[in-house]
Each structure stands twice: as C-alpha cells, then as structure tokens.
C-alpha cells in the first residue's frame, strides 16, 4: 500500500434543518414521516410559481462559510442547474455554482483525527434546495415532496484526505459544527447528510503538491452514511490499487456505492457527463450582502465543540478524554453546561454526565432530550452528596430510583435515610461495637489488620449502611489506637 498515496475529496451535503420554512417557499421545514404534508405549489412547481429566498437560510449559510474560513460574496446569486428527474419538480435545481461566487469560497478547516490535528482546504460552500425523496418498489416509485425545497448546504473540499479515517473524522467534525452552529441536526438517520466521494491514487514517491503527479479521479455518488464513506473509500483504494498493480489504467468515471454488495458500481464515464446548462436564476435579483450584516453574523457565531473542549480542559480542569466525551454531542454538552451554570462542581458534573448519564442513554438508546433527570434534578443529588446527606452509593441509588419511578430525586432523599455524619453519634455507635468485640480487637492488635473491615462492616450493619464511610474509618482507626 505504501507504493500509492490516496487523494480523497468530499462533497458533503447537509440539510439545514433549523429554519422555519424551506429555502425558496413558505412551506414548513421539518422532517416528517408522513409523506407530502409540508408542501406547497412552489415545492411542486405548479405553473406560475416563483422562488422567494429565505433570508435566515442565507444568514446561516454565511455563518458556516465564516466558520470554514471561506470568503463571502459581495452579492448573493443563485443559479439554475437544469436536468430532468422525477424528484426534481421544476426540472431544475436552484443552486450556486462557483461563478458568480457562492456563499463561501476557498476556506480551510482544522479537525481532530485521532490525536492529530489535520487540515483540509475547502474549495467552495454553497446553498441550494433539496430534491423530493423517492421510494422505489417493484414496479412503481413513490415521490415524497416534503424534502423538495428544504435548504441544503454543499461543502466541496480539495482532495486533501489520504485515508478513509481522515475523511470520516472530517465528516464528524462538520456534523458537530452544523449542530453547534444551530444550523442543522445533521442526523444521518433522517438522511440529512449525504456525500459524494472522489478517490485517486498517485505514486507515493512523487511530489504531492504538483497536481500533474495526481492520479485519475473516480467519483462515488450518493454515499449516505459515515460507515458507507469509510467502506467505499477503502473499497475504492483497494480496487484502484489492484487495477494499477495489474497494469490497468484508471478511467475517469462516476460510480455509486452499493450497500448490499459493499462495492462501488460503474454509473457513467466522463463522456456521458451531464451538461447542467447552468445560468443565473432570473427570478431572484442579486442581493447585496452588506458589511454590517456580515459583521452581525460573525458576532453571532456560537461557541463550537473545539472551543468548549478547550474550556473544559483549561478552565474546568477536566481530562481531554472526558472533555471529548462531553462535546461529542451538542445536546450533551449543553446539558453539562447547564449543570455547571446551576452550581454543580464542574468535575462532579462531568463524572455524572460522562459515566452515569451517557451510560444510561447508551443503554436505553435514548437522546438526552428524552432523559428524565434534568440538570436541576441532578443538582438535588449532588447537593445532598456534598453536604453528606447521601453517600455516593446512596446517591447512585437515588439517581436510578428517580429514573425508574419518574419522580424527582428529592423524593428519595430524606433525613430518615440520611447518612450519619455526626461524629459524636458515630463514636457512640463504634464504641458500643468495640466494647462487645474484645476478641477481634486482640486479634487485630496481634497483626490481623484485615479485621479493620470487620469493624466497618459492623458499623454499616448497625446503621443500615447510613454511616458516613470516611468518618467511620477515621473514628475506627482512632478508637483502635486508643485501646
């Protein structure tokens, strides 16, 4: 494998789910399982309809463009991409090509891949409309127009990735960016992310910076999961390597990823490339993007995952691993931030979230928004723990009881079952036990030190587990030394 260097580029499409309406119509922009309920004359291209640009979608696209360190255009244009397909009601898609300048051009993204920070150049980033979705059956196909006109962002990278892991790490990074920026849920299960991948192989001994040394590019269309991206890249690298090893020539072509056979399949060659006959959409006058508006957008960019992670490590003193777990999903990080804001110690909150809560969510396959215990409920537990009312064992019990019964934790925290942290009381109990255990004390003094646990056990038995364990151990040590 070292003989060849793979150059991989991505076209990442992500639906913008966080606008009220679609990108060129007033239909609701919302994922629905009922087909054809968020539709209008515009989405279905009835004669006489006209597109009206959703300013919020433009704003969000410009925000992403800034995050990608792209340059933003002076004027916003749209173009028509003309082709016939049953999922495309108008017979053209309103999109942006690279000329005139789209929402963003020539940027750079830093992302984590394992323990390394990698960089990828962004060729362009644009805003367009999604097509309807098709369901194919044996002899018929169903068309669902809910998706037609949903704002869609397309990010085109330069072929800067060298492995499937890098490409997937980048996709994960971008998913997090879209979520943190409040632009999209970026949920692959809802089909919100779709990718085209291009792969070429070059002689690893040659200079990568010279495009003349690059190999012929093969494009793989419609890869709809991160796993698919990984598998299709690996498959393609293997296929092309084998071809080259056997003296074959790579043809420029478009292939598609077939989930079932886990392979790429030829779709069309370069000669059959579709001419989309782009031209500027005449129904949308070019729109001047003011410097003030751009500044306003720039100032509204929220804290992104990498910023939060840095904060958690530097300010809250968390481990890099825990910080990583917390920021992986924005909703979880938001939950964690709320806990800290409510006054729960940052490290304590981190332990609860990364261990108990994430564990519980994974076990139940739930999202944090469906989780019963809110940050303020969690605080009931951590407060009781801090003041010694609960032992950590009890705290966990309260946590699970609350989930099980859908009742606030405070219902399970009471004076009655509170931890005994009164030193006098504990001393009285411990003395009483010791007075009745002269044999054990003798044996202990004679060197059988593991009998220490016997005394702890007796105290716990006596208090039905409510004795403060730390204090108990201290007092037992003191008393044993005295006798």
């Amino acid at each position: 494998m070292t003989k060849y260097l793979a150059k991989i580029g991505l076209e990442m499409h992500c639906e913008m789910s966080e606008t009220n309406s679609k990108v060129f119509s007033s239909s609701r922009n919302s994922y629905e399982s009922t087909p054809n309920c968020n539709i209008s004359a515009v989405d279905m291209a009835f004669p006489g309809i006209l597109p009206v640009v959703n300013k919020e979608a433009v704003k969000k696209a410009l925000m992403i463009s800034m995050i990608l360190k792209c340059s933003q255009p002076e004027f916003f244009y749209f173009e028509r991409k003309n082709y016939y397909y049953p999922d495309l009601p108008k017979g053209f898609q309103i999109t942006q090509e690279t000329k005139p300048i789209p929402a963003g051009i020539y940027g750079e993204v830093e992302f984590e891949c394992g323990d390394e920070i990698k960089k990828v150049r962004v060729n362009n980033f644009h805003l367009e409309e999604d097509a309807a979705s098709l369901d194919h059956f044996y002899s018929t196909s169903n068309i669902d127009y809910n998706r037609a006109g949903v704002p869609l962002m397309e990010l085109v990278t330069e072929p800067d990735f060298h492995s499937a892991s890098e490409a997937v790490a980048f996709l994960e990074h971008m998913r997090s960016v879209y979520q943190y920026a409040g632009v999209s849920e970026a949920d692959t299960k809802k089909g919100q992310i779709r990718c085209d991948v291009n792969v070429s192989l070059m002689d690893a001994s040659l200079d990568e910076s010279d495009p003349n040394n690059w190999g012929t590019k093969v494009e793989i269309k419609n890869v709809n999961s991160f796993g698919g991206v990984r598998d299709s890249i690996n498959y393609e690298i293997e296929r092309q390597t084998e071809l080259l090893e056997n003296g074959g020539v790579i043809e420029q072509e478009t292939r598609r990823w077939d989930e079932e056979s886990q392979s790429t399949i030829h779709m069309r060659s370069k000669a059959d490339a579709i001419d989309y006959k782009y031209f500027v959409e005449p129904n949308i006058p070019k729109y001047k993007i003011s410097k003030e508006w751009l500044e306003e957008i720039r100032n509204s960019i929220p804290e992104l995952a990498m910023d939060r992670k840095k904060k958690y490590i530097d300010k809250f003193g968390l481990s890099s691993y825990d910080a990583g777990v917390l920021v992986k999903e924005k909703a979880i990080s938001d939950y964690y931030e709320e806990c800290v804001e409510l006054g729960i110690d940052a490290k304590v909150a981190s332990n609860w979230v990364t261990v108990n809560i994430v564990g519980e969510l994974n076990k139940e396959d739930k999202s944090i928004s469906e989780f019963y215990i809110t940050p303020s409920m969690l605080k009931q537990i951590t407060d009781a723990l801090a003041t010694g009312i609960l032992s950590s064992k009890q705290a966990k019990e309260v946590f699970f009881k609350a989930i099980e019964n859908n009742k606030e934790p405070k219902n399970f925290i009471s004076k009655e079952n509170a931890q005994i942290s009164d030193k006098d009381e504990l001393t009285r109990i411990i003395c009483e036990i010791m007075d009745n255990s002269s044999t054990q004390i003798e044996q202990y003094k004679a060197g059988k030190t593991n009998l220490f646990d016997y005394f702890v056990g007796q105290v716990m038995k006596n208090t039905r587990g409510k004795a403060n364990p730390v204090m108990t151990k201290e007092i037992i040590t003191d008393e044993l030394n005295k006798r």
Binding site: A45, F46, P47, R80, N82, F279, N283
Partner: protein, 485 residues
Amino acid sequence: MKYMDKSIEELHEMLVKGDVTSDELVKESLERSHEIQDKCNAFVTILDDAKGCEVTDNLLSGIPYGVKDNYSTKGILSTGSSNTLKDYVPFFDATAIVNLNKAGAIKVNKTAMDEFGMGGTGTTGHTGVQLNPWDRTRICAGSSSGSAAAVAAGVYPYALGSDTGDSIRKPAAYCGIVGYKPTYGMISRYGLFPFASSLDHCGVLTRSVRDAAIVVNTMKGIDPNDMTSWDSSKMDLLGSCTGDVKGMKLCYVKEICDIENYPNASHELKEHLENFKKTIELARNIGMEVDEVSVDRKLLNAVFSVYRVIHSAEATSNMSNLTGIIFGPRGEGDNYIDMIKDHRTKGFSPLIKRRFVIGSYVLQKENQERYFKNAQRARRMIVDTWKNLYKKYDAVLCPVGVGPAKKFTELDLKQDINTMSLDEHLQVGNFGGFPSITIPNGFVSNLPVGINITGNCYEDEKVLNIAYALESAMDYKGQVVKEVK
C-alpha cells in the same frame, strides 16, 4: 344598447347611477363572447356562470373583463393554450388576479393565445388560430391574440395580456387598440405561466390610455411572492394622465423609422411610415419636441437574435416542469424518461419544440459563452443605448410593425431581413424592462396601425401621459370594430 363598447369610466358612472346593472353588463359580455368565439376563435374558456357583483367606489367593480389563458385562475381552466395543460385547473390565483378580484372586477372568459406566449401570430394555440376582427383573413399578431381580438370587438373594455417580446403591444396595434406593459416588476408575475422570466411582463389591452392606467393601477403592487416586484404605491397612473406635455422631449430612431432604410418598401410600409410622420407632427403641434436620433445599425440588427437566444434559453428551463408527472396529462411509457418524452412530444407545438432545441443549444457548456453570454452582453449594450437616450429624452417613439396585420396566407413568406429591426424593435422594451405602450394612430389599407411610446424604467406616469396626450389629439380613442364580418 351596446355597453361593452364603452370605457371603464363611462360604465362605472352608469353603474353608480343605476342606468345599468353589473348583471346586465356580464350578460352582454357573455353574449358578445360567444359571438366573437364563433367569428374569431378568441377564447379557450367562456365563463357562462359569471355573475355581476356589487358596485363600489372602485372603477373596476362590476365590470367584465377577459384573462389571457396563461394567468393562473383558481378553479378555472388555465391552459396557456397548450395541450400540456389542456385540463389543468389551478388551485391558486395569480397575484394580479387576486388584486382584480379585490376590486370587484368580473372575469368572463379566458382568452386564447400563442402557446405559452411563444409566437407572434396567434396561430400556435391548442384551440386553433385567432382571427382579426377587422379582417378575418388576417392575424391579430400574438401572443395576446384572443385578448386583442376580444377588446377590439367590444366584448369588454379590457383584457389581460402578457408581453415577453411584444406580445401585448403588437396585437394591440394590429387590432387598433391600446396595449400597455408597465416597468418590469410593477405587476407581480406570481401565477403568470413563465415564458422567459427576465423578459416576461404582465399588462393589459384596452381601448383607451385612461382605461389602461385604471387597470394597471389595480393589478400592480409589491408582492412577497415575487422578488422582482417593487413598491409602486406612490404611483398614480390615472392621475398622471393630465394631457400636459408641453416641453416634453421625444425622439425616434432614424435607422428604424426612415423610409430610406427600406429601398424595396411595399406600398403599405410607405403608408405606415408616412402615417408615423404625421403623428410626429401632431406631437410637435401639442407642444412636444421631437428629434431624430441615430443608433448603431449593428446593435439594432442584433435585437432579434439576442431576443431569440435569451428567451429560448430561459423558456427551455422554465418549461421543464411540464412533465405530465405532477399535473397535465400523464404520458405513456415504461419509465419516467419515456413518460416525460411522450407527454412533451404530444403536448407541444413544433414552434415551441424548435425554440427548446435552440435554448438547449445556446446553454450547452461549449456554446454558452458564444451564444447565451454574448446575447446577455449585447442585451446590456442595447439597454445602455436606450438609457442614454433617456438622459436627454422623455420617451422614444416608434411605429409598430411594418404595416397593418398580415394575412394568414402571408405567414409562410420568409421574414424580410431588411425590415427586421422595424418589426422587432419592441423587444428592447423587454430587454430593459421599460414601460411601453402602443396606441392606435390611424389606418393603412383600411386596417388599424399603431405607434409605440417607450420610456425609462419607473417613468410609467410620464409614458402614459404622453400616450394620453397623443391619443387625445387623434380620433382613435375607444374605437371598436363596428361589425365583425
């Protein structure tokens, strides 16, 4: 009594006074519709169950009118005169129709047209050809052929049209009436079946300039559904018709209007241009200055090609929604490609198919720079030339067409390359989105001819006032075909 020969203001006064009821007007208009349908084939649909309505302060309330069949009308068949939409009943009204509904205007028919507005002869619609009520052996011109014939024949005082090249202003001239398309975006295009979006305009055909002002006053307005529309609420088109034009400066283009340009001119062309000269004299007599100006002939000769390239390109894209999948008759075939092919093969007239081929050709990657982009550049140069004229002049005057309406038998004759710029110059009004109005200015061979006044964008008030002043100085205001033979 023929009410439908009267102007909107006359009818309104009679309605208010109670001399006539809205129901009576509708009844007469429907009777005339059937008569003109028999004689001129002017309509796709006659709305026999149309009823009168309450008369309000609005000048249009209770008065019948016609709608070109490329306006989307809720619950009423809207075909664009195409087989691809032969049974299409929309579920929404075009914005212009909504505005007219609010005013209490009453639709009585949908007028036939050249298929989707393409073609200038009134011969390509799916319900057959429209005959000129002045002489039924002649064309009305198009594409607003049915609207022009109906207004000229006194079916009602006005009918809606649309204008991408000259589709309101040429049939108006050939039918001896007024045809006005305001500045691009003054009337929302939402609900107008698109032909070439950057050139398409809504507008109206009437028998007087004041009527045109009244109707467009009602149709216009900024529309959240059309991003190219703009706020014209401060513009009072009717109020602008004062007739005071003293000191206004007009010009006409020598390379278009001078008979010397046409050594082989027909008798009719000579008469037409003579008549144009008379109107110029008239303009001077009522206090306007009129200069002859010169425009590069190369630029003028490019107008037709520029128009053809741009409209074909936009049309082929705009009409890609006509697949027979969501609406329109479903085509036959084993897969979607064959179904779409079948629908479009059966649905479109040869003229449209030809333009789709041209449109696709000029947009192709390898041709786009040479044809489409160059056409856009030339369009810009032509518009700039006209804008330059408007720095000095209030409007440009031009004769419409090369004479009166052609006979159907003459249509197959090859277009005379020498008179092309005379025949096609109205398209400049669409290139620039200029306000442009045609009014009748006399007769040639006993058939009406017209003159066109085109001004700068947003100067509709000025253009209408000039037209109103000229109209008032001539005898053709409100003319109706006396008897359709």
